[in-house]
């Protein structure tokens, strides 16, 4: 029996690893001015966000979370619980690291929304745009997150800047998808009505389609934030500062306590942000 029936023939194999490596190497060498600008810009942006976040003293944040929870959910026990959870993060000595994580999350979410929201609107309009963007989104979501850490490091080095890029790539699909979905789902007659009364395309979009799609868009924002938090932790592998780096240190030194403490802080941060954003969006949904 010939060999090619039972085993995949060597003659059919192609090499894609080397060309990709070469392309990345080529970019590292030749596109460095572009990446330098990107790096500088992002670093400045991160510093700005970090500066703003650090303007908030620890007690103000706790009071703010308490007041916000009380206003949004109208449940005192939740407000007390969330404040105590935040206090716990400070008590176990992770407050500053949490602020660093928060800085990267806020920066990444901001960029994600800045790019993702218009993209979502664009692909809700055209079938062709949708056909192009959808597979890209699928790839971004299914590709193991470590994979694009490698080129990010090669192009932008270690640290917070490549972390923001990697986190943005990871967190952008939900906002794109949900924006496009929300706009498509607006009642056909409502859009027809907007057109029939002489709206321009832009008027129909801003005055009718986006407001009608808002609840769906907001759940996309919520998902984007959650994914950003998850990715920021992974990005500690490439030197992102914050709670994730504590986990990495814990692994390296086999210190379970350090890892678990940082993990708990991440969980608390995620829960509080998730519940708060959700309650804001629900309120929006009721009002509309």
């Amino acid at each position: 029996m010939p060999d090619w029936i039972t085993r995949f023939p060597k003659s059919l194999s192609i090499n894609i690893k080397d060309p990709i490596d070469k392309a990345i190497d080529h970019m590292v060498v030749n596109w460095s001015p572009f990446f330098d600008v990107l790096k500088t810009g992002l670093r400045a942006f991160l510093n700005l966000i970090g500066f703003l976040v650090n303007l908030v003293p620890w007690w103000l944040l706790i009071i703010a979370v308490f007041a916000l929870t009380l206003r949004m959910t109208r449940k005192r026990h939740k407000a007390v619980l969330y404040s105590l959870m935040l206090l716990f993060i400070g008590a176990i000595g992770l407050w500053d690291l949490m602020y660093q994580t928060l800085t990267i999350v806020i920066a990444s979410v901001f960029i994600s929304l800045l790019i993702g929201f218009p993209t979502g609107i664009l692909i809700s309009y055209g079938r062709r745009a949708d056909a192009i963007v959808r597979p890209i989104l699928d790839t971004m979501q299914t590709m193991p997150s470590f994979v694009y850490l490698i080129p990010a490091v090669m192009l932008l080095g270690l640290g917070n800047v490549p972390a923001v890029i990697a986190t943005t790539i990871y967190a952008i699909p939900p906002i794109v998808r949900m924006t496009s979905l929300g706009i498509r789902q607006v009642d056909r007659e409502v859009v027809e009505a907007a057109t029939a009364f002489g709206s321009t395309r832009f008027q129909a979009l801003v005055k009718v389609q986006i407001p009608q799609a808002l609840p769906t868009i907001m759940s996309g924002v919520n998902q984007t934030i959650m994914m950003a938090i998850a990715m920021v932790v992974t990005c500690s592998m490439i030197g992102a500062s914050g709670l994730g780096s504590e986990v990495v240190t814990g692994i390296n030194r086999l210190e379970s306590g350090r890892g678990v403490a940082a993990g708990a802080a991440i969980v608390i941060l995620a829960i509080i942000i998730d519940r708060l954003t959700q309650s804001i969006f629900k309120k929006d949904g009721e009002a509309s």
Binding site: E189, V190, E192, A193, A196, G198, K207, V208, Q212, S288
Partner: protein
């Protein structure tokens, strides 16, 4: 010519085809092929097939047809929500197929507006915000557009609701918002795409009445779509009946009813008067008071007293209908003035379950007691009261 001056919309040889292979479809249409055949051979859907009509200023023009007959598409061509494949639409002499983008916006903002079947209300705005929408996109100042909108809100009877959220409104009220919004632009023509179909019958009747009142007051031209022939005849000055994308007949309601163009139209019109469709079995009831001829007068009186009815239906052993015993005759039997069997009136009108209600109308007017329904062996099956007959007609 006077008719020329009076017409506000003139549609000439309008076609709308959906699909890729329009050329082939057009050719088949010219050869007189049917809609189904064209769809099968070319994959092209013929939504509108050579439609021409004129709408007179200040009148209500009704397009009627079953779903899929193309009536909604025709109306959407009138404000260019839908682009005609060929044919012309003249609005006050201007061909709206040739309007430029800006002209089209202007046309939609000031000349023509629309009311939708499922209202097309924007749930993120309150009542006032919805009514003012057309004026807002036109660029009117807030104070001015709200003042005008309030007038319209008053006109449709929603005063006091202007700041309410849409979710608080019933279906009828939502459509009032839709109508107020359409009127706020002060358009010449109001397009109404089955505006009352989603409403329950009582509300629908109110809204029809109100539409007529408003139309009389403001003297707007209305193009009204419906699948309900009663509604069409009630509202329309002119009615056009559509089938498979084409118009079969255009006439006044009276003209169409007395002189239908073909069987399709006739069937449609027959649906208009329900008494010609419904038969007795749809509306008959069980007799409230039923006695057997051997039961005797005491029993009959007892039953009548219990039910609060002044007449009893008398049947034999096998339910065969004997007649009606009225209260005063029964009392006379009890007093010994006449005998029981003589007291039973047997000249009561009878009918069968399969009779059309329209045939009952002459009897019903005369009858003192509900008409008895009997089968072929003269057994009593039920009774038909005047109230039930009247209820079936509305």
């Amino acid at each position: 010519m006077t008719t020329e001056n009076n017409s506000i919309i003139r549609v000439e040889h309008l076609y709308k085809l959906y699909g890729m292979n329009k050329e082939a479809a057009r050719e088949m249409l010219n050869r007189g092929a049917g809609k189904d055949e064209i769809l099968k051979k070319t994959g092209v859907t013929v939504a509108i097939n050579d439609v021409s009509f004129e709408v007179e200023r200040g009148k209500i023009f009704v397009l009627i047809g079953l779903s899929g007959s193309g009536k909604s598409t025709v109306v959407r061509c009138l404000n260019r929500l839908c682009r005609p494949s060929s044919g012309d639409i003249f609005f006050e002499g201007i061909n709206i197929r040739e309007l430029k983008k800006k002209e089209l916006l202007e046309f939609r903002r000031s000349k023509i507006s629309m009311v939708f079947q499922s209202f097309g209300i924007m749930s993120h705005r309150d009542v006032l915000g919805n009514v003012a929408y057309g004026l807002e996109v036109r660029g009117l100042k807030k104070a001015e557009r709200e003042e005008r909108s309030m007038e319209m809100i008053k006109m449709v009877g929603l005063e006091g609701w202007e700041r309410k959220s849409i979710d608080n409104l019933s279906g009828g009220m939502k459509q009032r918002v839709g109508i107020a919004r359409a009127l706020a632009n002060d358009p010449d023509v109001l397009l109404m795409d089955e505006p009352f179909s989603a409403l329950d019958p009582l509300v629908r009747r109110d809204m029809q009445f109100e539409l007529l009142t408003i139309q009389e007051q403001l003297n707007k031209t209305v193009v009204f779509i419906t699948h309900d022939i009663n509604e069409a005849f009630k509202l329309g000055n002119t009615v056009a009946i559509m089938h498979d994308g084409g118009i079969i007949q255009i006439d006044t309601p009276e003209g169409m009813a007395s002189n239908p163009a073909n069987d399709y139209v006739e069937n449609f019109i027959n649906g208009a008067d329900k008494t010609q469709v419904y038969t007795v079995k749809h509306i008959m009831q069980r007799p409230g008071c039923l006695i057997r001829s051997k039961d005797g007068v005491i029993n009959a009186l007892k039953q009548m007293r219990e039910q609060g009815i002044s007449s009893a239906y008398v049947v034999g052993e096998k339910m065969e209908f004997r007649g009606v015993l009225t209260l005063d005759k029964a009392l006379r039997v009890k007093a010994g003035e006449i005998v029981f069997l003589d007291a039973i009136e047997n000249d009561v009108p009878t009918t069968t379950a399969e009779t059309q209600i329209s045939e009952l109308l002459p009897f019903a007017a005369e009858a003192r007691v509900p008409i008895a329904v009997v089968d072929d062996k003269f057994r009593l099956c039920g009774i038909v009261s005047k109230a039930a007959i009247i209820a079936s007609m509305v």
